[in-house]
Amino acid sequence: MQYPVLEVRGLVNRFGDQVVHDGLDMEVEQDEVFGIVGGSGSGKSVLLRSILGLQRPQAGTVRIYGSDITKMTETQLLSVKERYGVAFQSGALYSGLTVLENIQEPMIEHLNLPARALDELALLKICLVGLPTSAAGKYPAELSGGMVKRAAIARALALDPALLFLDEPTSGLDPVSAAAFDDLVLYLQKQLRLTIVMITHDLDSIFRTCNRVGVIVDRKMVSGTLAQIVEYPNPWIQAYFHGERASARLGEIAHGA
């Protein structure tokens, strides 16, 4: 049986009295770029943390490649964690290591490779994400915001995962860098046949990169193609996709479709 890459069913997350998710469903298919959208405080980050196994939900299942991670022990989770990469919002690069060492870190943890292979493979990842090779020996504090994000992706790709999670990849970038970053995401998706799940607020980024979008509204998720979501009769979704900033973009899909 063919499983979806990622399947979330009936997810419930509560903090005290505050219910963040109440029966949230989500499904991501092979080779798609899936965008998670939601207002501030709607629980995007909590959803990502639940999917990554950083936080146990109160109820529901999270299946990655068919295996339910909510029922796994920490050791079982490790084998799943090797199959996906995560690039956190602020990069979360280890500040005491150079970019090269940051990328090698997961390889050293999970694999037994000779030093030469570590250097080559890490440098390959650096080239792949469009960083100059001179960035390899630099520390995260010496990089610009855009370079940190690229380095974070390079580290996420260290173990050649087929599934990549990006948390607000374009936040804090200027529109030109953000567009270049979207191109990078698309390029990597196509070349490496990645499945990408990204949390984003950036409308440009959604319209450029996402095949399907899931919007968290009222503690549940509404998902579909952009064209479907844009028509969905929910006040928040309407406000989000029909605001002034989105209108210009909507015209483009209407013409393109």
């Binding site: 150079t98 694999l111 390959l124 080239c127 390899a136 520390y139």
Partner: protein, 387 residues
């Protein structure tokens, strides 16, 4: 075996099978490297048996193809070469044009990084190392003096106005560094009195002058140990806290935010901490002295069977009017040294979490060192003054 080799008249035929991912990279790389290309005119590669060719696997293959071509062997693929190889070629070409370097980018970069990453450790010539340390130490000294100067200037600048002196902030630091430290300081002072009493009782009993135990405890605690041990504890508690707080604020750009809003971080962060500690440490020292004397009383009562009145009388005889003040007067100086060391190293943090840990350690070690050094200078001074 992921690489099946057949030797034909024309050369080598390779059938590649199985998973070609990063987990198999070590094995793949080793096998491909072990292939003897000597005398092979042509290599034909069949990749149709590969289940999944990930980027790392493709890299191993790419390297092999490069090696074969440099050795003058023609490489051909049965069917289309895998897409991943052209991705690698394109990536490398882009990187190479960016680096504006004729060498293959990856080889060049690994060479570069090897140079820049080489540690300046035991391999560096001794002279260079000595020179580097001297210059570094000199620069540290200058920076430390500049910091000290700025603290003093800010303090005298703000002492004129109550608002700029930040009494609320100072009160918080008196609480954090002083009040919360009372239990541990008191306990240590008590134990120290016990230790001195025990040790001296053992020695003096043989001489029949065990009344002098009281002198030793009293003078030892009041003049030296009360203030010294309190300072060491406070250096460990508050010196590290200052460095860690300021350091993580630096990392978090909070200090920059203060400067950007026109607030002097020395005025709001550094001076209140040091002033708070200068107020708290003498008070802690007085408490430590009291508890130490109490400890002495308890010990002499039970160890030497000395009545309490006799102990009090002996204490009065043993100390001169200056004994107490000689101890307490040192406390504000020690406090300033601890505060400055903690704040200075906290403000030096930049870049990484490792730096934070290193500087917190340095802050504490240096604070304790300066406290003991200052104590030694005080001892000489008091001896010269005949106090």
């Amino acid at each position: 075996m992921p690489v099946e080799v057949r030797r034909t008249n024309a050369g080598l035929e390779l059938d590649l099978t199985g998973e070609w991912g990063i987990r198999e990279f070590g094995e793949l790389d080793a096998q491909l490297h072990a292939l003897d290309l000597q005398g092979a005119g042509q290599v034909r590669i069949d990749t149709s048996g590969i289940k999944s060719l990930e980027l790392s696997g493709a890299w191993a293959l790419h390297e092999f193809v490069q090696r074969a071509r440099t050795a003058g062997v023609t490489v051909a693929f049965r069917g289309q070469p895998p897409d991943q190889l052209s991705l690698l070629d394109k990536t490398l070409k882009d990187a190479a044009t960016e680096a504006a370097d004729s060498e293959p980018a990856i080889a060049a970069a690994s060479h570069d990084s090897a140079v820049t990453l080489a540690p300046v450790g035991p391999h560096a010539p001794l002279l260079t190392a000595v020179g580097r340390h001297t210059v570094g130490a000199w620069r540290d000294t200058l920076e430390g003096l500049a910091f000290l100067g700025r603290v003093i200037l800010t303090f005298f600048g703000s002492v004129t106005s109550l608002r700029r002196l930040r009494p609320i902030s100072i009160a918080r630091h008196v609480y954090d560094t002083g009040i919360t430290a009372i239990p541990i300081t008191a306990l240590i002072a008590f134990l120290i009195a016990v230790i001195i009493a025990y040790m001296s009782a053992q020695q003096l009993r043989g001489l029949g002058v065990d009344i002098y135990v009281v002198d030793l405890v009293t003078i030892g605690v009041l003049r030296e140990l009360g203030v010294l041990l309190t300072s060491v504890i406070v250096a460990g508690r508050s010196g590290s806290a200052f460095a860690a707080e300021l350091g993580s604020m630096k990392l978090n750009e909070e200090v920059d935010a203060l400067i950007a809003t026109g607030v002097d971080p020395f005025e709001v962060l550094v001076v209140p901490r040091i002033v708070g500690l200068v107020i708290a440490l003498p008070l802690l020292t007085i408490i430590a002295d009291l508890v130490g004397l109490t400890g002495g009383a308890v010990l002499t009562r039970y160890l030497l069977d000395m009545p309490l009145t006799q102990y009090v009388n002996r204490v009065n005889e043993a100390i001169s009017p200056t004994t107490f003040w000689v101890g307490v007067i040192k406390a504000p100086v020690f406090a300033a040294l601890i505060g400055i060391s903690g704040c200075y190293h906290g403000m030096q943090v930049r870049g990484s979490a490792r730096e934070l840990g290193r500087l917190v350690t340095v802050a504490v070690v240096q604070a304790i060192f300066f406290v003991i050094l200052a104590d030694a200078l005080f001892a000489v001074l008091f001896m010269e003054l005949n106090i």
